[in-house]
Protein backbone atom coordinates (compact mmCIF):
# COMPACT_ATOMS: atom_id res chain seq x y z
CA UNK A 1 0.00 0.00 0.00
CA UNK A 2 2.81 2.38 0.94
CA UNK A 3 4.54 1.46 -2.30
CA UNK A 4 1.52 2.40 -4.33
CA UNK A 5 1.24 5.79 -2.65
CA UNK A 6 4.83 6.54 -3.55
CA UNK A 7 4.13 5.67 -7.17
CA UNK A 8 1.08 7.94 -7.18
CA UNK A 9 3.24 10.86 -6.04
CA UNK A 10 5.72 10.10 -8.78
CA UNK A 11 2.94 10.18 -11.33
CA UNK A 12 2.23 13.76 -10.33
CA UNK A 13 5.81 14.73 -10.96
CA UNK A 14 5.59 13.18 -14.43
CA UNK A 15 8.47 10.89 -13.73
CA UNK A 16 6.87 7.62 -14.57
CA UNK A 17 9.20 5.04 -15.97
CA UNK A 18 9.99 1.39 -16.00
CA UNK A 19 12.82 1.47 -13.42
CA UNK A 20 10.70 3.39 -11.02
CA UNK A 21 7.65 1.14 -11.29
CA UNK A 22 9.21 -2.22 -11.83
CA UNK A 23 7.64 -4.48 -14.44
CA UNK A 24 5.06 -5.85 -12.01
CA UNK A 25 3.56 -2.40 -11.50
CA UNK A 26 3.60 -1.63 -15.24
CA UNK A 27 1.51 -4.78 -15.70
CA UNK A 28 -0.87 -3.62 -13.01
CA UNK A 29 -1.22 -0.17 -14.55
CA UNK A 30 -1.87 -1.63 -17.98
CA UNK A 31 -4.59 -3.87 -16.56
CA UNK A 32 -6.15 -0.84 -14.87
CA UNK A 33 -6.16 1.13 -18.12
CA UNK A 34 -7.70 -1.79 -20.03
CA UNK A 35 -10.30 -2.24 -17.30
CA UNK A 36 -11.64 1.33 -17.53
CA UNK A 37 -11.52 1.63 -21.34
CA UNK A 38 -14.63 1.21 -23.41
CA UNK A 39 -12.75 1.18 -26.71
CA UNK A 40 -9.55 -0.48 -27.94
CA UNK A 41 -6.47 1.17 -26.39
CA UNK A 42 -3.47 1.77 -28.60
CA UNK A 43 -0.06 0.69 -27.30
CA UNK A 44 1.29 4.17 -28.10
CA UNK A 45 -1.30 5.76 -25.79
CA UNK A 46 -0.37 3.44 -22.92
CA UNK A 47 3.31 4.05 -23.57
CA UNK A 48 2.83 7.82 -23.46
CA UNK A 49 0.76 7.89 -20.31
CA UNK A 50 3.11 5.54 -18.42
CA UNK A 51 6.30 6.88 -20.04
CA UNK A 52 7.41 3.32 -20.67
CA UNK A 53 8.81 2.29 -24.10
CA UNK A 54 6.14 0.99 -26.47
CA UNK A 55 8.12 -2.18 -27.12
CA UNK A 56 7.92 -3.08 -23.44
CA UNK A 57 4.17 -2.34 -23.37
CA UNK A 58 3.62 -4.64 -26.36
CA UNK A 59 5.65 -7.39 -24.71
CA UNK A 60 3.62 -7.15 -21.49
CA UNK A 61 0.33 -7.09 -23.41
CA UNK A 62 1.32 -10.27 -25.25
CA UNK A 63 2.16 -11.89 -21.91
CA UNK A 64 -1.18 -10.84 -20.44
CA UNK A 65 -2.99 -12.14 -23.52
CA UNK A 66 -1.34 -15.54 -23.06
CA UNK A 67 -1.80 -15.58 -19.31
CA UNK A 68 -5.56 -14.94 -19.40
CA UNK A 69 -6.03 -17.85 -21.80
CA UNK A 70 -3.81 -20.24 -19.85
CA UNK A 71 -5.49 -19.41 -16.55
CA UNK A 72 -8.95 -19.66 -18.14
CA UNK A 73 -9.96 -16.26 -16.79
CA UNK A 74 -13.42 -14.73 -17.23
CA UNK A 75 -11.98 -12.29 -19.72
CA UNK A 76 -9.52 -12.40 -22.58
CA UNK A 77 -7.35 -9.76 -24.17
CA UNK A 78 -7.78 -9.18 -27.90
CA UNK A 79 -5.92 -7.09 -30.43
CA UNK A 80 -8.65 -5.25 -32.24
CA UNK A 81 -8.88 -2.26 -34.60
CA UNK A 82 -5.27 -1.29 -33.97
CA UNK A 83 -5.50 -1.47 -30.16
CA UNK A 84 -6.08 -3.84 -27.22
CA UNK A 85 -9.35 -4.44 -25.47
CA UNK A 86 -10.73 -6.73 -22.75
CA UNK A 87 -13.47 -9.11 -23.87
CA UNK A 88 -15.43 -11.69 -21.97
CA UNK A 89 -14.22 -15.27 -22.37
CA UNK A 90 -16.26 -16.66 -25.33
CA UNK A 91 -16.85 -19.87 -23.32
CA UNK A 92 -19.10 -17.80 -21.02
CA UNK A 93 -21.36 -16.75 -23.87
CA UNK A 94 -24.48 -18.61 -22.71
CA UNK A 95 -24.18 -17.60 -19.09
CA UNK A 96 -23.51 -13.97 -19.96
CA UNK A 97 -26.42 -13.89 -22.35
CA UNK A 98 -28.69 -14.91 -19.49
CA UNK A 99 -27.00 -12.36 -17.24
CA UNK A 100 -27.42 -9.36 -19.56
CA UNK A 101 -30.85 -10.69 -20.59
CA UNK A 102 -30.56 -9.25 -24.09
CA UNK A 103 -28.88 -10.25 -27.23
CA UNK A 104 -26.69 -7.31 -28.06
CA UNK A 105 -25.54 -8.78 -31.33
CA UNK A 106 -25.73 -6.23 -34.12
CA UNK A 107 -28.39 -7.30 -36.56
CA UNK A 108 -27.69 -6.47 -40.19
CA UNK A 109 -29.98 -7.16 -43.13
CA UNK A 110 -28.75 -9.05 -46.19
CA UNK A 111 -28.68 -5.76 -48.13
CA UNK A 112 -26.56 -4.16 -45.40
CA UNK A 113 -24.16 -7.12 -45.34
CA UNK A 114 -23.72 -6.99 -49.12
CA UNK A 115 -23.16 -3.24 -49.07
CA UNK A 116 -20.58 -3.62 -46.29
CA UNK A 117 -18.86 -6.38 -48.28
CA UNK A 118 -18.52 -4.13 -51.32
CA UNK A 119 -17.31 -1.13 -49.33
CA UNK A 120 -14.83 -3.26 -47.35
CA UNK A 121 -13.04 -4.37 -50.51
CA UNK A 122 -13.57 -1.39 -52.80
CA UNK A 123 -13.15 1.56 -50.44
CA UNK A 124 -13.29 4.48 -50.87
CA UNK A 125 -16.43 4.10 -52.97
CA UNK A 126 -19.52 6.17 -53.84
CA UNK A 127 -23.16 5.13 -53.56
CA UNK A 128 -23.51 5.02 -57.35
CA UNK A 129 -20.54 2.67 -57.64
CA UNK A 130 -22.08 0.38 -55.00
CA UNK A 131 -25.44 0.49 -56.80
CA UNK A 132 -23.72 -0.51 -60.05
CA UNK A 133 -22.51 -3.73 -58.43
CA UNK A 134 -25.65 -4.52 -56.47
CA UNK A 135 -28.01 -3.47 -59.26
CA UNK A 136 -30.26 -1.55 -56.87
CA UNK A 137 -30.12 1.78 -55.06
CA UNK A 138 -28.31 1.64 -51.75
CA UNK A 139 -29.01 5.09 -50.32
CA UNK A 140 -31.04 3.97 -47.30
CA UNK A 141 -28.72 1.04 -46.57
CA UNK A 142 -25.69 3.34 -46.56
CA UNK A 143 -27.51 5.72 -44.19
CA UNK A 144 -28.32 2.85 -41.82
CA UNK A 145 -24.70 1.69 -41.85
CA UNK A 146 -23.57 5.28 -41.16
CA UNK A 147 -26.03 5.45 -38.26
CA UNK A 148 -24.63 2.25 -36.82
CA UNK A 149 -21.18 3.79 -37.05
CA UNK A 150 -19.89 1.08 -39.40
CA UNK A 151 -19.06 3.55 -42.20
CA UNK A 152 -17.54 6.97 -42.43
CA UNK A 153 -17.25 9.52 -45.17
CA UNK A 154 -13.98 9.65 -47.05
CA UNK A 155 -14.05 12.79 -49.17
CA UNK A 156 -15.82 13.54 -52.43
CA UNK A 157 -15.22 12.82 -56.10
CA UNK A 158 -14.41 15.95 -58.08
CA UNK A 159 -17.12 15.66 -60.70
CA UNK A 160 -20.54 17.26 -61.13
CA UNK A 161 -22.71 16.43 -58.14
CA UNK A 162 -19.65 15.86 -55.93
CA UNK A 163 -20.63 12.33 -54.85
CA UNK A 164 -19.50 11.39 -51.34
CA UNK A 165 -17.07 8.51 -50.91
CA UNK A 166 -17.41 6.03 -48.07
CA UNK A 167 -15.04 3.76 -46.18
CA UNK A 168 -15.43 1.32 -43.29
CA UNK A 169 -14.87 2.59 -39.74
CA UNK A 170 -12.99 1.24 -36.75
CA UNK A 171 -16.35 0.04 -35.41
CA UNK A 172 -16.55 -2.25 -38.48
CA UNK A 173 -13.21 -3.82 -37.55
CA UNK A 174 -14.44 -4.28 -33.97
CA UNK A 175 -17.66 -5.89 -35.16
CA UNK A 176 -15.70 -8.45 -37.17
CA UNK A 177 -12.97 -8.87 -34.57
CA UNK A 178 -10.27 -7.69 -36.94
CA UNK A 179 -7.14 -5.75 -36.10
CA UNK A 180 -6.98 -3.98 -39.46
CA UNK A 181 -8.32 -4.26 -43.01
CA UNK A 182 -5.34 -6.36 -44.04
CA UNK A 183 -6.80 -9.14 -41.86
CA UNK A 184 -9.65 -9.55 -44.35
CA UNK A 185 -9.00 -12.52 -46.63
CA UNK A 186 -7.83 -11.45 -50.11
CA UNK A 187 -10.76 -11.05 -52.53
CA UNK A 188 -9.00 -13.61 -54.74
CA UNK A 189 -10.05 -16.34 -52.28
CA UNK A 190 -13.72 -15.65 -52.97
CA UNK A 191 -13.06 -15.62 -56.70
CA UNK A 192 -11.22 -18.95 -56.58
CA UNK A 193 -14.06 -20.37 -54.53
CA UNK A 194 -16.36 -19.20 -57.29
CA UNK A 195 -14.31 -21.01 -59.96
CA UNK A 196 -14.09 -24.29 -58.04
CA UNK A 197 -17.74 -24.45 -57.04
CA UNK A 198 -18.79 -23.18 -60.44
CA UNK A 199 -21.99 -21.59 -59.23
Amino acid sequence: MIDKKEKTNDKKSDRLNLELFGEEWVRTYIEGILFISESPVKTGTISESLDVPEGKIKQILRMLEQEYIEQNRGFVLKKISGGYRLYSNPALNEVLQRFVKTNIRTHLSQAALETLAIIAYRQPISRTQIAEIRGVRTDSVVLTLLDKGLLKEAGKIKEPGNPILYRTSDRFLELLGLNNLKDLPPIKEFKEDEQTTGD
Binding site: K156, G161, L176, G177, L178, F190, E194
Partner: protein
Amino acid sequence: MNTAEVQDKDYTLEYENVFSGPIFLLVELVQKKKIDIYDISLSYIINGFKEFIKEKSGVLLDTISSFIYFSSILLEIKSRSLFPSKKEDEGEEGELDINILKRREDEYRIYKKVSNYISSKIIEESLFYIREAPMEKDFLDTFPDFTKKIELEELWMTACKMLARNEFELDLGDVYNHRSTVNIFNEMGRIKDMLQSREDITFKEISSVYEKVMDRIISFLSILELYKNEEIEIIQFESFGNIVIKTR
Protein backbone atom coordinates in the same frame (compact mmCIF):
# COMPACT_ATOMS: atom_id res chain seq x y z
CA MET B 1 -43.95 -24.72 -74.71
CA ASN B 2 -47.57 -24.22 -75.71
CA THR B 3 -49.00 -21.83 -78.29
CA ALA B 4 -50.22 -19.30 -75.76
CA GLU B 5 -46.72 -19.02 -74.35
CA VAL B 6 -45.24 -18.41 -77.78
CA GLN B 7 -47.78 -15.70 -78.44
CA ASP B 8 -47.05 -14.07 -75.12
CA LYS B 9 -43.34 -14.09 -75.71
CA ASP B 10 -43.90 -12.59 -79.10
CA TYR B 11 -45.46 -9.45 -77.70
CA THR B 12 -44.84 -7.03 -80.54
CA LEU B 13 -43.89 -3.45 -80.00
CA GLU B 14 -45.25 -0.98 -82.49
CA TYR B 15 -43.41 2.27 -82.32
CA GLU B 16 -44.52 4.88 -84.82
CA ASN B 17 -42.39 4.52 -87.94
CA VAL B 18 -39.25 3.78 -85.97
CA PHE B 19 -39.65 0.17 -84.91
CA SER B 20 -41.89 -2.87 -84.99
CA GLY B 21 -40.93 -6.18 -83.34
CA PRO B 22 -40.09 -7.84 -80.00
CA ILE B 23 -38.44 -5.72 -77.31
CA PHE B 24 -35.19 -7.75 -77.19
CA LEU B 25 -34.66 -6.85 -80.85
CA LEU B 26 -35.11 -3.18 -80.02
CA VAL B 27 -32.47 -3.52 -77.28
CA GLU B 28 -30.09 -5.14 -79.77
CA LEU B 29 -30.64 -2.43 -82.38
CA VAL B 30 -30.11 0.31 -79.83
CA GLN B 31 -26.91 -1.39 -78.63
CA LYS B 32 -25.67 -1.67 -82.19
CA LYS B 33 -26.60 1.97 -82.70
CA LYS B 34 -28.98 1.11 -85.52
CA ILE B 35 -31.65 3.00 -83.62
CA ASP B 36 -30.97 6.16 -81.62
CA ILE B 37 -32.22 5.81 -78.05
CA TYR B 38 -33.22 9.49 -78.27
CA ASP B 39 -35.87 8.57 -80.83
CA ILE B 40 -37.54 6.20 -78.39
CA SER B 41 -39.96 7.32 -75.68
CA LEU B 42 -39.68 4.73 -72.94
CA SER B 43 -42.85 5.90 -71.21
CA TYR B 44 -44.69 5.29 -74.50
CA ILE B 45 -43.34 1.72 -74.71
CA ILE B 46 -44.08 0.97 -71.05
CA ASN B 47 -47.61 2.38 -71.24
CA GLY B 48 -48.21 0.26 -74.34
CA PHE B 49 -47.20 -2.88 -72.49
CA LYS B 50 -49.33 -1.90 -69.51
CA GLU B 51 -52.31 -1.63 -71.83
CA PHE B 52 -51.44 -5.03 -73.30
CA ILE B 53 -51.48 -6.80 -69.94
CA LYS B 54 -54.61 -4.96 -68.89
CA GLU B 55 -56.50 -6.08 -71.98
CA LYS B 56 -55.19 -9.61 -72.14
CA SER B 57 -55.77 -11.69 -69.03
CA GLY B 58 -53.37 -14.46 -68.10
CA VAL B 59 -50.17 -12.98 -69.50
CA LEU B 60 -47.32 -15.26 -68.42
CA LEU B 61 -45.00 -14.10 -65.67
CA ASP B 62 -42.15 -14.96 -68.03
CA THR B 63 -43.35 -12.41 -70.55
CA ILE B 64 -43.72 -9.71 -67.93
CA SER B 65 -40.32 -10.35 -66.36
CA SER B 66 -38.56 -10.45 -69.70
CA PHE B 67 -40.23 -7.16 -70.65
CA ILE B 68 -39.14 -5.60 -67.35
CA TYR B 69 -35.61 -6.91 -67.88
CA PHE B 70 -35.22 -5.54 -71.40
CA SER B 71 -36.98 -2.25 -70.69
CA SER B 72 -34.67 -1.73 -67.70
CA ILE B 73 -31.68 -2.15 -70.04
CA LEU B 74 -33.17 0.52 -72.31
CA LEU B 75 -33.80 2.73 -69.30
CA GLU B 76 -30.20 2.36 -68.19
CA ILE B 77 -28.85 3.07 -71.67
CA LYS B 78 -31.00 6.16 -71.91
CA SER B 79 -30.15 7.50 -68.46
CA ARG B 80 -26.47 6.84 -69.13
CA SER B 81 -26.65 8.70 -72.40
CA LEU B 82 -27.81 11.77 -70.49
CA PHE B 83 -24.59 11.84 -68.49
CA PRO B 84 -21.07 12.13 -69.78
CA SER B 85 -19.97 8.54 -69.11
CA LYS B 86 -16.53 7.27 -68.23
CA LYS B 87 -14.58 5.32 -70.84
CA GLU B 88 -14.14 2.22 -68.62
CA ASP B 89 -17.90 1.75 -68.39
CA GLU B 90 -18.34 1.71 -72.11
CA GLY B 91 -18.35 -1.30 -74.36
CA GLU B 92 -16.67 -1.39 -77.76
CA GLU B 93 -19.52 0.52 -79.28
CA GLY B 94 -19.53 3.00 -76.43
CA GLU B 95 -22.82 1.57 -75.21
CA LEU B 96 -23.80 -0.60 -72.33
CA ASP B 97 -23.70 -4.14 -73.60
CA ILE B 98 -24.68 -7.54 -72.30
CA ASN B 99 -21.06 -8.30 -71.33
CA ILE B 100 -21.07 -5.50 -68.81
CA LEU B 101 -24.23 -6.87 -67.24
CA LYS B 102 -22.65 -10.32 -67.12
CA ARG B 103 -19.47 -8.94 -65.54
CA ARG B 104 -21.52 -7.13 -62.91
CA GLU B 105 -23.48 -10.27 -62.16
CA ASP B 106 -20.22 -12.19 -61.58
CA GLU B 107 -18.89 -9.42 -59.40
CA TYR B 108 -22.10 -9.32 -57.41
CA ARG B 109 -21.92 -13.08 -56.80
CA ILE B 110 -18.42 -12.69 -55.35
CA TYR B 111 -19.55 -9.92 -52.99
CA LYS B 112 -22.49 -12.04 -51.92
CA LYS B 113 -19.94 -14.62 -50.75
CA VAL B 114 -18.00 -11.89 -48.98
CA SER B 115 -21.23 -10.89 -47.22
CA ASN B 116 -21.63 -14.49 -45.98
CA TYR B 117 -18.09 -14.32 -44.66
CA ILE B 118 -18.83 -11.01 -42.88
CA SER B 119 -21.98 -12.47 -41.40
CA SER B 120 -20.11 -15.50 -40.06
CA LYS B 121 -17.42 -13.25 -38.54
CA ILE B 122 -20.10 -11.17 -36.80
CA ILE B 123 -21.69 -14.31 -35.35
CA GLU B 124 -18.27 -15.57 -34.24
CA GLU B 125 -17.52 -12.24 -32.64
CA SER B 126 -20.87 -12.08 -30.85
CA LEU B 127 -19.63 -14.79 -28.47
CA PHE B 128 -17.50 -12.07 -26.86
CA TYR B 129 -18.98 -9.38 -24.68
CA ILE B 130 -17.35 -6.03 -24.14
CA ARG B 131 -17.69 -3.19 -21.72
CA GLU B 132 -19.75 -0.75 -23.74
CA ALA B 133 -20.79 1.67 -21.03
CA PRO B 134 -19.25 5.12 -21.32
CA MET B 135 -16.25 6.00 -19.28
CA GLU B 136 -16.77 6.63 -15.57
CA LYS B 137 -17.45 10.26 -14.64
CA ASP B 138 -14.19 10.61 -12.73
CA PHE B 139 -12.18 9.93 -15.84
CA LEU B 140 -14.15 12.14 -18.20
CA ASP B 141 -11.89 15.13 -17.54
CA THR B 142 -8.99 13.32 -19.13
CA PHE B 143 -10.70 13.69 -22.52
CA PRO B 144 -11.13 16.95 -24.44
CA ASP B 145 -14.68 18.34 -24.32
CA PHE B 146 -15.86 18.21 -27.92
CA THR B 147 -18.87 20.43 -27.26
CA LYS B 148 -16.81 23.18 -25.62
CA LYS B 149 -16.41 25.44 -28.66
CA ILE B 150 -19.97 25.12 -29.95
CA GLU B 151 -21.93 28.35 -29.59
CA LEU B 152 -25.69 28.54 -29.30
CA GLU B 153 -25.80 30.43 -32.61
CA GLU B 154 -24.04 27.57 -34.39
CA LEU B 155 -26.57 25.07 -33.08
CA TRP B 156 -29.35 27.36 -34.24
CA MET B 157 -27.82 27.62 -37.73
CA THR B 158 -27.49 23.83 -37.96
CA ALA B 159 -31.13 23.36 -36.95
CA CYS B 160 -32.23 25.95 -39.55
CA LYS B 161 -30.28 24.19 -42.28
CA MET B 162 -31.82 20.85 -41.35
CA LEU B 163 -35.35 22.23 -41.34
CA ALA B 164 -34.82 24.10 -44.61
CA ARG B 165 -34.08 20.81 -46.30
CA ASN B 166 -37.80 20.03 -46.29
CA GLU B 167 -38.17 22.51 -49.14
CA PHE B 168 -36.39 20.07 -51.42
CA GLU B 169 -38.81 17.28 -50.71
CA LEU B 170 -40.97 16.95 -53.78
CA ASP B 171 -43.94 14.81 -54.53
CA LEU B 172 -42.43 13.17 -57.59
CA GLY B 173 -45.74 11.68 -58.62
CA ASP B 174 -47.16 15.20 -58.86
CA VAL B 175 -44.28 16.44 -61.04
CA TYR B 176 -45.41 14.29 -63.95
CA ASN B 177 -48.99 15.55 -63.78
CA HIS B 178 -47.95 18.88 -65.29
CA ARG B 179 -46.77 18.90 -68.85
CA SER B 180 -43.65 20.90 -69.61
CA THR B 181 -43.91 24.15 -71.49
CA VAL B 182 -40.38 24.05 -72.92
CA ASN B 183 -38.40 21.53 -74.90
CA ILE B 184 -34.79 20.57 -74.48
CA PHE B 185 -33.54 22.01 -77.79
CA ASN B 186 -35.11 25.44 -77.25
CA GLU B 187 -33.79 25.46 -73.71
CA MET B 188 -30.26 24.62 -74.89
CA GLY B 189 -30.49 27.53 -77.31
CA ARG B 190 -31.73 29.88 -74.58
CA ILE B 191 -28.85 28.92 -72.26
CA LYS B 192 -26.31 29.43 -75.06
CA ASP B 193 -27.81 32.86 -75.79
CA MET B 194 -27.53 33.82 -72.14
CA LEU B 195 -23.89 32.76 -72.13
CA GLN B 196 -23.09 34.97 -75.08
CA SER B 197 -23.55 38.16 -73.13
CA ARG B 198 -21.76 37.03 -69.97
CA GLU B 199 -18.95 34.80 -68.83
CA ASP B 200 -20.83 32.57 -66.43
CA ILE B 201 -24.30 31.99 -65.08
CA THR B 202 -25.79 29.88 -62.28
CA PHE B 203 -28.41 27.17 -62.63
CA LYS B 204 -30.56 29.13 -60.19
CA GLU B 205 -30.59 32.12 -62.57
CA ILE B 206 -31.28 29.97 -65.61
CA SER B 207 -34.20 28.11 -64.05
CA SER B 208 -35.67 31.03 -62.09
CA VAL B 209 -37.98 31.91 -65.00
CA TYR B 210 -39.83 28.63 -64.57
CA GLU B 211 -42.59 27.91 -62.10
CA LYS B 212 -43.09 24.23 -62.89
CA VAL B 213 -40.68 21.64 -61.55
CA MET B 214 -40.89 19.77 -64.85
CA ASP B 215 -39.61 22.85 -66.72
CA ARG B 216 -36.72 23.12 -64.30
CA ILE B 217 -35.91 19.46 -64.87
CA ILE B 218 -35.85 20.12 -68.63
CA SER B 219 -33.60 23.08 -68.00
CA PHE B 220 -31.25 20.87 -65.97
CA LEU B 221 -31.24 18.15 -68.64
CA SER B 222 -30.37 20.81 -71.24
CA ILE B 223 -27.34 21.78 -69.16
CA LEU B 224 -26.25 18.14 -68.98
CA GLU B 225 -26.67 17.83 -72.74
CA LEU B 226 -24.57 20.95 -73.36
CA TYR B 227 -21.94 19.55 -71.01
CA LYS B 228 -21.94 16.23 -72.82
CA ASN B 229 -21.52 18.06 -76.14
CA GLU B 230 -18.52 19.80 -74.54
CA GLU B 231 -20.03 23.22 -75.09
CA ILE B 232 -20.00 24.27 -71.45
CA GLU B 233 -18.11 23.73 -68.17
CA ILE B 234 -19.92 22.96 -64.93
CA ILE B 235 -18.52 23.96 -61.55
CA GLN B 236 -20.05 23.12 -58.19
CA PHE B 237 -18.05 23.86 -55.07
CA GLU B 238 -20.17 22.00 -52.51
CA SER B 239 -23.08 19.57 -52.37
CA PHE B 240 -26.38 21.38 -52.99
CA GLY B 241 -24.32 24.50 -53.71
CA ASN B 242 -24.81 26.77 -56.70
CA ILE B 243 -24.06 25.18 -60.06
CA VAL B 244 -22.01 27.60 -62.14
CA ILE B 245 -22.09 27.23 -65.93
CA LYS B 246 -19.34 28.64 -68.16
CA THR B 247 -18.67 28.51 -71.89
CA ARG B 248 -15.76 26.27 -72.88
